[in-house]
């Protein structure tokens, strides 16, 4: 795998993301022509079309790229860290904890009173979960304790989410919680972008700094350490970066499954199985998948509000099953 082929792959993925981003801007219930939309985006003033483009479609497209990128990036990072192709971003419990934070604000009515209460509470949930997981897995903890701590935290957060649902004051609150948990990018604003962006940039920056060590981990922790990689530091940095990315993604889009699991797997061979290179290919791939899925939900059922997370799970789960079958054949 040479650098030339990798650069071409990244360039192709980037073009794909750019095309889907443009497509996401052009598709929606308000029929706006190509020229009109571009004109509205760049130099419209206050008309309805401008409003739709800048306040509805632009944040939705940006969030689609950001959320998909975050999920793809963190999925690739966790698979590299755990040396397991079946790892996914939710494994360390961040998404469940973020969902719990969000669900509490819906249940208490806070989210209705203050628009940013929900994403802020979700971020707080993510923050608490990463603190707990680092505490539980410890600085000298092994990969196995990290996985177990993640499973435990996930189960706990899910149990509390069920409790909140169980105790919800009326069926409307319960159904609102259920719908939010399905994951969607509909009706988001630039505020959501402003909220998620810093955490995603932070997560991506940490990945860029620490990601080089992942390829050494291919040969196991002892070999990586003997090549000068600080595995303990790498593990902590990647957990923090993943939590930051997944927490922000969950805060603005709800729980969207399978993207962080499937995308790294689809692109692994294309990057010569190099886990460091997979990070960036997977980030772009994730962005492309979420943008495409978000276009698809608008085309398939324009007036039924099909949830993005439902579609990714419907398409992703069969992929996952196929992956298991292939793994079984390879190890048989």
């Amino acid at each position: 795998m040479n650098s030339m082929r990798y650069s071409i792959l990244i360039a192709l993925l980037f073009i794909l993301v750019a095309c889907l981003f443009a497509g996401s801007l052009l598709i929606g219930p308000a029929a706006i022509g190509l020229n009109a939309s571009i004109a509205a985006l760049f130099h419209g003033e206050g008309e309805m079309v401008t409003l739709v483009m800048r306040e509805v479609r632009l944040p939705r497209a940006i969030l689609g790229a950001l959320v998909g990128g975050a999920l793809g990036l963190s999925g690739a990072a966790l698979q590299g860290l755990l040396r397991n192709p079946l790892a996914e971003p939710g494994l360390i419990g961040t998404s469940s904890a973020a969902a719990l934070g969000a669900v509490i604000t819906i249940q208490t009515g806070l989210s209705a009173a203050f628009a940013l209460a929900l994403p802020l509470a979700a971020l707080a949930g993510a923050l608490i979960s990463v603190g707990l997981i680092l505490l539980l897995a410890g600085p000298r903890g092994t990969i196995l304790t990290l996985i177990l701590a993640g499973i435990g935290l996930s189960a706990l957060a899910t149990a509390f989410t069920s409790l909140v649902l169980n105790l919800s004051p009326n069926p409307f609150a319960a159904s609102e919680i259920m719908f939010w948990m399905m994951g969607s990018l509909a009706d988001r604003s630039m505020l959501h972008v402003q909220l998620a962006l810093p955490f995603m940039v932070l997560g991506a920056a940490i990945m860029a700094r620490a990601g080089g060590g992942l390829k050494a981990l291919t040969l196991g922790e002892d070999a990586a350490t003997s090549m000068g990689v600080n595995v303990t530091r790498l593990r902590i940095l990647l957990v923090v970066a993943t939590a930051s990315l997944v927490g922000a993604a969950t805060a603005v889009a709800g729980a969207i499954g399978f993207v962080g699991l499937i995308v790294p797997h689809l692109l692994r061979r294309a990057v010569g199985a190099n886990p460091t290179r997979l990070l960036w290919a997977s980030a772009l791939g994730g962005a492309a998948v979420i943008l495409a899925a978000d276009i698809a939900v608008r085309i398939i059922a324009p007036d039924r509000d099909l949830k993005l997370g439902v579609l990714t799970a419907l398409v992703g789960a069969p992929f996952f099953l196929n992956l298991i079958l292939r793994t079984r054949r390879e190890t048989a």
């Binding site: 040969l219 350490t225 090549m227 000068g228 190099n274």
Partner: protein, 251 residues
């Protein structure tokens, strides 16, 4: 002697139990030291302690350097031949260059090509390393360690699971590495192989060194009985040694 590794009174504990106690050992340039001992004698733990992978007390010349500098002084070949992802074999070999982040691309390419050539991997270089046979994987991983260009090579049972020809090939590569001014410390279970190829043998029992010297000095009837509970036929010739384990001595 130009010591590449100097250990003084190294002890390693697992919980309250000492796994290695009071090991003092020097490995100098040009030496190929075989670390022998029954299962559970502490060979792996000692090697991991030397590399700073488990905490150890005592003086260890390697631990006086930063982890980054240590990576340029000692390469490690763990016993488990783990390759997690289907990387092309040459990319696995290239991982050894991570110890030299400052090196030029030309220098890196040269080191990788040397290692690939030395281990005869030319035909396998594009193949996914996970799909190679056990012996091929072992060669790829040794090439990876050679590409690290560290003078000291520490190998945990490098010949385990290899066919006889591959075992000898590995020993020859290590011997050549020592001959070029490097040094090798390898744990081995095949006493005959160790006797023929190593310049020095160290016998470990219950975490302590019980013998340290030339193969002829170490592989005595008395030591074999005491450490391995083994009666063996040993013949020393000018062309090498013939070693044949005969029976187990009841403790």
């Amino acid at each position: 002697m130009n010591a590449l590794l100097a250990l003084e009174n190294i002890s390693i504990f697992r919980g309250p139990c000492p796994v290695v106690s009071g090991v003092t050992l020097q490995v100098g340039a040009g030496e190929f030291v075989g670390l022998l001992g029954p299962n559970g004698a502490g060979k792996t733990t000692l090697m991991r302690g030397v590399l700073g992978l488990v905490p150890a007390s005592g003086r260890n010349s390697l631990m006086e350097h930063t982890p980054e500098a240590r990576a340029r002084m000692a390469a490690f070949l763990p016993q488990e031949r783990e390759i997690a992802w289907p990387m092309p074999a040459q990319d696995v070999v290239a991982l050894g260059r991570m110890a030299h982040p400052q090196a030029s691309a030309r220098k890196n390419r040269q080191a990788i090509e040397n290692a690939i050539e030395r281990m005869g991997l030319g035909a396998l270089r594009e193949r996914a390393a996970t799909q190679l046979s056990g012996g091929e994987k072992a060669r790829v991983l040794i090439a990876r360690a050679l590409a690290q260009e560290a003078p000291l090579l520490i190998a945990d049972e490098p010949t385990a699971g290899l066919d006889p020809a591959a075992q000898i090939a590995v020993m020859d590569v290590f011997r050549a590495h020592a001959g070029e001014g490097g040094a090798v410390l390898a744990s081995l279970h095949d006493l005959g192989l160790a006797a023929r190829h190593c310049t020095r043998l160290v016998l470990l029992l219950k975490g302590q060194i019980v013998a340290n010297g030339t193969p002829q000095e170490v592989l005595t009837e008395e030591n074999l009985a005491r450490v391995f509970h083994l009666r063996a036929h040993v013949e020393w010739h000018a062309s090498g040694v013939i070693f044949q384990p005969l029976s187990v001595i009841d403790a």
